[in-house]
């Protein structure tokens, strides 16, 4: 999961794409160490715990939980991982490049 995410973020760094982590491990100091250890470069929200405010609002009770959101802010896919996640992202990037009429 993580190696594929890193590769995707690197490959798409010039595209209108962002990966946002919502991390449940603890406070900012804890998460900084985890990000450094795993060489994670993308932005991570500090949610504090599995009962954090974002996980609670978005009704997350399994980790990882993934939503893929298009350039208009619409939820288009959920619970896609690895190649399925990449396929979803590429399909939505193609929409940005050639908007549907």
């Amino acid at each position: 999961m993580l190696p594929h995410e890193k590769e995707l973020v690197e490959r798409l760094k010039d595209k209108p794409f962002a990966l946002i982590g919502i991390n449940s491990d603890g406070d900012a100091e804890t998460v900084k160490k985890i990000l450094a250890k795993n060489e994670i470069t993308w932005r991570n929200a500090i949610d504090g715990s599995t009962g954090g405010p974002l996980a609670t609002q978005w009704n997350v009770n399994g980790w990882p939980t993934i939503y893929v959101i298009d350039a208009k802010g619409v939820i288009r896919y959920r619970d896609v991982r690895d190649q399925a996640m990449e396929d979803a992202v590429m399909a939505l990037l193609a929409e940005v490049a050639a908007p549907a009429k």
Binding site: E5, K15, P16, F17, A18, L19, I20, G21, I22, N23, S24, D25, A28, V31, K32, I34, L35, K37, N38, R43, N44, A45, I46, D47, T50, P53, L54, A55, T56, Q57, W58, N59, V60, N61, G62, W63, P64, T65, I66, Y67, V68, I69, D70, A71, K72, G73, V74, I75, R76, Y77, R78, M85, V89, L92, L93, V96
Partner: protein, 278 residues
Amino acid sequence: MSRSSPRLGRAWLAVTVPLVLATASPAQEGDPAAPQEQFTPEARLEALVERLNAARQEYYRAYDEAKTDEEKDAVFAKEPSAAFVPEFRALADSIAGTEPAAQAWIWVVRLSQRVDGGAPAKEALGMLTSRYIDSPALGDLARELEYAGYSLGLDACEGTLRTVIEKSPLRAVQARAQYTLARILMRGRGRQLSEEAALERRAEAKRLFADLAGRFGAEDAGRGRTYAAQAERNLFEIDRLQIGMVAPDFECTDADGVKFKLSDYRGKVVVVDFWGDW
């Protein structure tokens, strides 16, 4: 996050120990010469669960020690759950009518979802919803069924839960079954559904969650949450987090202490990944 059965097993044991103490019997465990019938149903069930847990520990140890994929496959083929199904089934028959018998049937459900196309599990569901419908253990059964749709089919899971909601005399069991049924309806795991069918199921899930909040709102739904709080979260998911809906905005703080909003990323394709390093 995977739901491991050994963890459930331990949680369950913690519940049964007081039962065993409460029905103290002259027969003691650990005397292999004594015929099984001397032991209380509680002690017999506990002994069987302990043997299952020991077999699983041995299985995990062997799996960890296996070096090649072939060795791991060979160990995996001997995963002990299926071998224990006939034992729990026989015990349930032998102590029929007791509370531990209901629990033994729930073990059959837990262990046999991938055995003989789920036939033993379905037989167990039939027994539990007829002979053991009064049992408080049916709350545990409801929990088992939330993710059983893949193996047992949604019809078996939903039918069982509807019967429990209607016929259990216990409020806690009714509430748990209604919550689980609503969760299954909302997520539709285990079946490819048409868009229309999925919408209809989510509409029923909404009615069930609203009713749950109304009738059982203040009661404990586990993990320190009330059914009112759980219903609210799930209704938010149904109303705001479905595919095709504009994602609800949120504001949060990143690891560098900088605040940001999801809506800051409008114009970009965004993957939102709820994760933890465990």
